[in-house]
C-alpha cells in the first residue's frame, strides 16, 4: 500500500461516511538537530515520523483525525472518524462553508538542495559546532552556543476533487550565540540570527553562513555590551538591520494579513487583526516605499513550496503595494467567506495537525538605498539589529521589540555600541514613518512561528533589508 493509497482510502471512507468534501495528507519527516555549548556537543536528536491526517467537510462543519498507521484499515477508520467529528461540529454550527475553486492536478515538486544535509557526516557537523563554540568561549563568552536543525519532509496529498500531489521539502540552517553574564544582567550576540538562519535548501546554506569567521567577534561584542551605555530613552530616528526588520514584518504585517485572524477564527488565542476587509485595496498601511509580497516561489526561502496543504499552487501576490493594503494570506474556505478568489497559504506543521492559514514568504521588496547611505543620511538616531525579544498585541498593532545590540548614529556616522536597545510603536504609524529602505535584501527564515490550538510551529520566510523609521520611541525599560 503506497502513501497515495492510504490517503485515497481515508478520503473515500470520509465520503462514504457522509462528507461532501475530504482531503488527506500523508507526511514522512526526518528531523535532526545538534546543539553545542562551550566546546562540547550538548544534544543530538534524530526523529522520524510518518502518519496521515484526514479532513472532512459535512454541511458547514469540519472534522479532522490523524493516525500514525498507514494500513488500509487505519486510513479508512481515520476517514470515518473525521466525518463523525465533523457531524459533532454541527451541534454548534457556524456559517455555510464554500471552497474557492482550485484546479485538481497530479503533480510532483521538490525544493532545491545541493548538499543533502542529512548526508553530511555527523562528525563534520559536530566538529563545526564544537570548534565555533570553543572559539567563542576563548573570546570571552560565558555561554557559547551553536546549533543546526534539518527537516526532510515528503508529503502526499489527495483530495476528493482529484488532487494527487507529492512534494519533498528539505529545510536546514543554523547559527551561533555568545552570552556574557554580568552582575545583574546578561548580554547576547548572535550570528547570523539567534537560533540561526534557515531556508528550503541543503547544507550549503550553513556553509555560506561562515560561522567560524564570526565567532570571535560576537563573543567580544557580548562581553563589551555589559559595560556599554544603555540605549537612551526618547523619540529618535531608528535604523533597523535586515534581521530585525524581518521579524517586524512577520509580527506586524504577516500575522495581521492572515485572513483567519481577520475573520475572527483566532480571536480567543492568537488574536484578531486591526485590518478590516472593507478597507482592502484602499487602506494606507505604510509609506510608498512599503511593498510587501506573499511569495512562496522564492527559491531557497524558508516559506517556499510547490503547493500548499490544500493543493493550491504556489503563486506570488501583493500584500501591500506602494504603501496600500491589497492582499491577504488565505485558504480556500476563508477566501470564499471573504468573497476573495484565492487561497494558497494553508499549511500544517505535521501529519497530526489541521492545515490552517500560515505565512509563506512575506517580505519587503528592495528599496533604492544601502545601509551605509541610510546611516550617512541620519543626523541623530539609533541603529538596532538582531532580535532579542518581541511582543505585540492581539490585534497586531502595539508592539515592543528588544534587540541584541544598538549603535549610536551621530552626524551620519556609526558611533558607540548601546546595550538593551528597545523600540515600541503602533504598526501602521510605524510603517508610514519608513523613509529610507536598502536594496540589500536577505530572505530571513523563521522556523518557530507559533499558531493554532493544538499548537503548530510554522516555518516562514521574510525577505528584508535595512530601513529607516522616523521619530520612533526607543529605550523602554522596567
Amino acid at each position: 500500500m503506497t502513501e497515495f493509497d492510504a490517503a485515497t482510502a481515508a478520503v473515500q471512507a470520509a465520503l462514504d461516511a457522509g462528507a461532501r468534501y475530504a482531503d488527506a495528507r500523508v507526511m514522512h519527516r526526518r528531523y535532526e538537530s545538534m546543539t553545542a555549548r562551550n566546546g562540547d556537543v550538548e544534544e543530538l536528536t534524530q526523529d522520524e515520523s510518518i502518519g496521515l491526517g484526514v479532513r472532512a467537510l459535512v454541511g458547514a462543519s469540519w472534522g479532522f483525525h490523524a493516525v500514525p498507521d498507514l494500513s488500509d484499515a487505519a486510513a479508512r477508520d481515520a476517514g470515518r472518524r473525521a466525518t463523525r467529528t465533523a457531524m459533532a461540529s454541527a451541534r454548534v454550527p457556524g456559517p455555510s462553508v464554500d471552497l474557492v475553486p482550485v484546479e485538481a492536478v497530479t503533480a510532483s515538486w521538490a525544493s532545491g538542495c545541493q548538499i543533502d544535509p542529512l548526508g553530511v557526516a555527523l562528525s563534520d557537523k559536530g566538529d563545526l559546532l564544537v570548534d565555533v563554540t570553543r572559539t567563542m568561549a576563548e573570546h570571552g563568552a560565558d555561554l557559547a552556543e551553536g546549533l543546526y536543525q534539518i527537516w526532510d519532509t515528503t508529503k502526499w496529498f489527495v483530495s476528493s476533487e482529484g488532487h494527487r500531489i507529492d512534494q519533498r521539502i528539505r529545510e536546514c540552517g543554523g547559527g551561533i550565540s555568545a552570552t556574557s553574564i554580568g552582575d545583574g544582567e546578561t548580554q547576547r550576540r548572535s550570528w547570523p540570527s539567534y537560533r540561526g538562519q534557515y531556508g528550503t535548501t541543503g547544507w550549503e546554506l550553513v556553509e555560506s553562513l561562515d560561522l567560524a569567521a564570526h565567532a570571535a567577534q560576537i563573543a567580544e561584542e557580548s562581553r563589551a555590551l555589559l559595560t556599554a551605555p544603555p540605549c537612551p530613552a526618547g523619540e529618535t530616528d531608528l535604523i533597523l538591520g535586515g534581521e530585525q526588520l524581518a521579524l517586524q514584518i512577520h509580527e506586524s504585517v504577516g500575522h495581521a494579513i492572515e485572513l483567519d485572524r481577520i475573520l475572527g477564527w483566532e480571536a480567543a488565542f492568537a488574536g484578531t487583526s486591526w485590518l478590516d476587509l472593507a478597507q482592502l485595496g484602499s487602506l494606507r498601511y505604510g509609506s510608498e516605499l512599503m511593498n510587501i509580497t506573499i511569495d512562496p516561489t522564492i527559491p531557497g526561502a524558508l516559506g517556499s513550496f510547490g503547493f500548499d496543504d490544500e493543493g493550491s499552487p504556489a503563486v506570488k501576490r501583493d500584500a501591500v503595494r506602494d504603501g496600500r493594503w491589497v492582499g491577504v494570506l488565505a485558504g480556500r474556505d476563508s477566501a470564499a467567506m471573504a468573497s476573495l478568489d484565492y487561497g494558497g497559504s494553508v499549511r500544517a506543521d505535521g501529519w497530526a495537525r489541521l492545515p490552517m492559514v500560515r505565512m509563506t514568504n512575506v517580505g519587503l521588496e528592495p528599496g533604492p538605498h544601502t545601509l551605509e547611505e541610510i546611516i550617512a543620511a541620519t543626523d541623530d538616531g539609533v541603529l538596532m539589529d538582531l532580535n532579542r525579544s518581541w511582543s505585540i498585541d492581539d490585534k497586531r498593532l502595539n508592539f515592543q521589540f528588544g534587540c541584541e545590540v544598538g549603535w549610536e548614529i551621530k552626524k551620519g556616522r556609526r558611533g558607540r555600541m548601546l546595550r538593551n536597545p528597545t523600540y515600541t510603536g503602533i504598526g501602521p504609524l510605524f510603517w508610514r514613518s519608513m523613509d529610507m529602505l536598502s536594496s540589500e535584501t536577505v530572505s530571513w527564515g523563521t522556523p518557530n512561528c507559533g499558531k493554532g490550538q493544538p499548537g503548530q510551529v510554522g516555518h516562514t520566510g521574510h525577505p528584508a533589508a535595512p530601513a529607516r523609521f522616523r521619530n520612533v520611541r526607543v529605550g523602554v525599560s522596567a
Binding site: G63, P68, T85, A267, Q453
Partner: protein, 468 residues
C-alpha cells in the same frame, strides 16, 4: 494498543539497544500513546474540530562515553530496529559526553490520581455540547475558544533495570465572549471533563465582556494591581522557565538564589505534578513529586534533571523533559498557594454599575476592596523576556482591565503594555494580598498547568497605552 503493549515496547527498545550496541550500552526508552482532541469555536460556531490517536517512542543511548537521542512514530519491529540503529550510530559519531549522569536506578513509581475513564475516552459530542453551553450562556455575545480532552498512557524502561508505567488525563476549556471589541475570558483545567461547566464559564466570560465595554485610555506609569488567576499564571510560567530551571541556574542566567528571601513572605510556590492527573515519572524515569520552590518568600530550590542535578551535586527532582539538555529541566505544574487565613470571601464588596461584571469571584472582590487606586487585570498576553537574569518581561494586558477607586471597580480601561521585573514585583513587601483559592489554569500543552489565586501587588510598571 494496551498498557501492556506500551510496557513491552519500551522494554523491547531497551533490549534492542543491548543486542545491537553491546552489553555496555546504556539506554532509556519512553513509549507514549496519546488520544488528544480539541474542539475549537469562533464567531459562536465550531470551526475546527480535531483529534489524533498517536504513539511515539523516545530513546536516549549512551555508548562508549557518547550520547544521542532519537524518536519516532513507527513502532513496527523494523521501525524500532531502525530507530535503535540510527541512534546508536549517531552516538558513536558524537564527541564524548563528560557530563553524562548515568541512568535512573530502579525506584518505586509514586502513586498518581486515578484516571477518569470518561475523560480519557470522551467523544466529540461531549466536547461540542460544552461548547454549545458556553455559547448559549453568553447571551448573544460572539464567543470563541476551545474544549479539549487529553489522555496519555506512557511506559518507561532503561537498561539499569528501572521501569515505570502511568496514565494521565486532562480536560480544559478556555473561551472568550466579545462585545464591541471588548473581550471577557473564562478558563479552567480539570482532571474530569464532567468538572467543566460550559454554561458557567460562558456566563462568566460574558459578564466580563459586558463590563469591559467603553474602555478609557490611562497614561502609563506605576499602578497598584489586582491580578486574576489567568494573569498570575503568566507570572508562574516565566518564573518557572527562566528562574527555577536548574540549567539556567547553573549557567547563572537565573535570578534564583536558594536560601535568600527574594519574595514577599506571602509567596509560597510549589511544583505539584501529582496534584492533578499527571504522569508519575519524568523523561528519565525519575518519580515526580511535589517540590517547594519558594517557601514564605524564601527561595528553596530549583528543578533538576539527572544532568543538572549531578552538576550541582544534587539529586534529580523529577523534572527531566525531552530536549532537556538544551532547554533545561522545567517545573510545569506550579501552584502559588492561596492565603492561609483570608482574606475571607465574606469581606468582599460587590462591584456595581457599568463595570459590575468585572469581578466574578469573592476572592478577587476582597482584594479589590482594599485598593484605593489601581487596576484590575484579568490576563496577560505575549509576554517576552528582555533579560533572563533580572527576568524583565514586556507584554500586554488582555481580556479586560478596569480602574479601581476606593475599593470599587469604576470603569473599563484600554489595554496597556508593561515592562516589569517579575521577581522585583513579587519582592519583599510587594504583595499586598492573596486570594484564598488557587484556580487551575490550562497551558497550551495538555498536562501543563498553573494554579493561582488572585494577587494584589503594590506596583506594576505600565510603559505604554494602547496608542503607543
Amino acid at each position: 494498543m494496551s498498557a501492556r503493549s506500551e510496557v513491552e515496547l519500551a522494554g523491547q527498545v531497551v533490549e534492542l539497544v543491548r543486542r545491537l550496541g553491546g552489553p555496555a550500552a546504556q539506554a532509556e526508552a519512553v513509549v507514549t500513546r496519546a488520544d488528544l482532541a480539541l474542539t475549537r469555536f469562533a464567531n459562536s460556531g465550531i470551526h475546527q474540530n480535531v483529534s489524533e490517536s498517536t504513539v511515539g517512542v523516545r530513546l536516549r543511548v549512551h555508548v562508549d562515553g557518547r550520547t544521542a537521542a532519537g524518536g519516532g512514530s513507527v513502532v513496527t519491529a523494523d521501525g524500532l530496529s531502525a530507530l535503535v540503529e540510527r541512534t546508536l550510530a549517531a552516538a558513536r559519531l558524537c564527541p564524548p559526553d563528560p557530563g553524562w549522569p548515568g541512568l535512573a536506578p530502579p525506584m518505586p513509581t509514586p502513586g498518581a490520581l486515578p484516571v477518569d475513564e470518561a475523560t480519557a475516552h470522551a467523544e466529540p459530542d461531549q466536547r461540542a455540547d460544552r461548547v454549545g453551553a458556553f455559547v448559549a450562556a453568553a447571551g448573544g455575545l460572539s464567543t470563541a475558544g476551545y474544549c479539549r480532552t487529553a489522555h496519555r498512557s506512557s511506559a518507561f524502561a532503561n537498561s539499569a533495570g528501572h521501569s515505570a508505567y502511568g496514565r494521565a488525563v486532562e480536560a480544559a476549556m478556555d473561551g472568550i465572549a466579545r462585545r464591541d471589541g471588548a473581550d471577557g475570558v473564562a478558563r479552567r483545567s480539570a482532571d474530569r471533563l464532567s468538572d467543566l461547566d460550559g454554561a458557567e464559564l460562558g456566563a462568566q466570560a460574558a459578564a466580563k465582556a459586558q463590563a469591559a465595554a467603553d474602555p478609557v485610555e490611562l497614561p502609563p506609569g506605576h499602578y497598584e494591581v489586582v491580578f486574576e488567576p489567568a494573569a498570575v499564571a503568566d507570572l508562574l510560567q516565566n518564573l518557572s522557565f527562566y528562574g527555577f530551571n536548574g540549567k539556567r541556574y547553573a549557567e547563572r542566567q537565573s535570578f534564583a538564589e536558594p536560601g535568600a528571601a527574594q519574595f514577599d513572605r506571602a509567596v509560597t510556590v510549589v511544583d505539584d505534578p501529582l496534584g492533578g492527573s499527571g504522569l508519575p515519572f519524568d523523561a528519565e524515569g525519575t518519580g515526580r513529586r511535589a517540590l517547594t520552590l519558594v517557601e514564605a518568600g524564601t527561595t528553596r530550590a530549583v528543578a533538576h534533571d539527572r544532568r543538572t542535578g549531578a552538576e550541582a551535586g544534587a539529586e534529580s527532582t523529577g523534572h527531566a523533559v525531552a530536549g532537556g539538555a538544551t532547554w533545561g529541566p522545567m517545573p510545569r505544574n506550579l501552584r502559588l498557594n492561596g492565603a492561609v487565613a483570608g482574606p475571607a470571601s465574606a469581606v468582599g464588596r460587590s462591584t456595581t454599575g457599568a463595570a459590575g461584571g468585572a469581578v466574578v469571584d469573592a476572592d478577587t472582590a476582597a482584594l479589590v476592596a482594599g485598593v484605593r487606586r489601581g487596576l484590575l487585570v484579568t490576563d496577560l498576553w505575549y509576554t517576552r523576556v528582555l533579560d533572563p537574569r533580572s527576568l524583565v518581561v514586556t507584554g500586554l494586558t488582555r481580556n479586560g482591565v478596569w480602574l479601581i477607586e476606593d475599593g470599587t471597580v469604576v470603569r473599563a480601561v484600554r489595554d496597556l503594555r508593561f515592562t516589569e521585573s517579575y521577581p522585583r514585583a513579587l519582592g519583599p513587601g510587594a504583595v499586598l494580598g492573596l486570594g484564598a483559592r488557587a484556580v487551575r489554569q490550562p497551558d497550551r500543552v495538555d498536562g501543563v498547568w498553573w494554579a493561582a489565586p488572585s494577587l494584589r501587588l503594590a506596583s506594576w510598571h505600565f510603559t505604554g497605552g494602547a496608542s503607543g
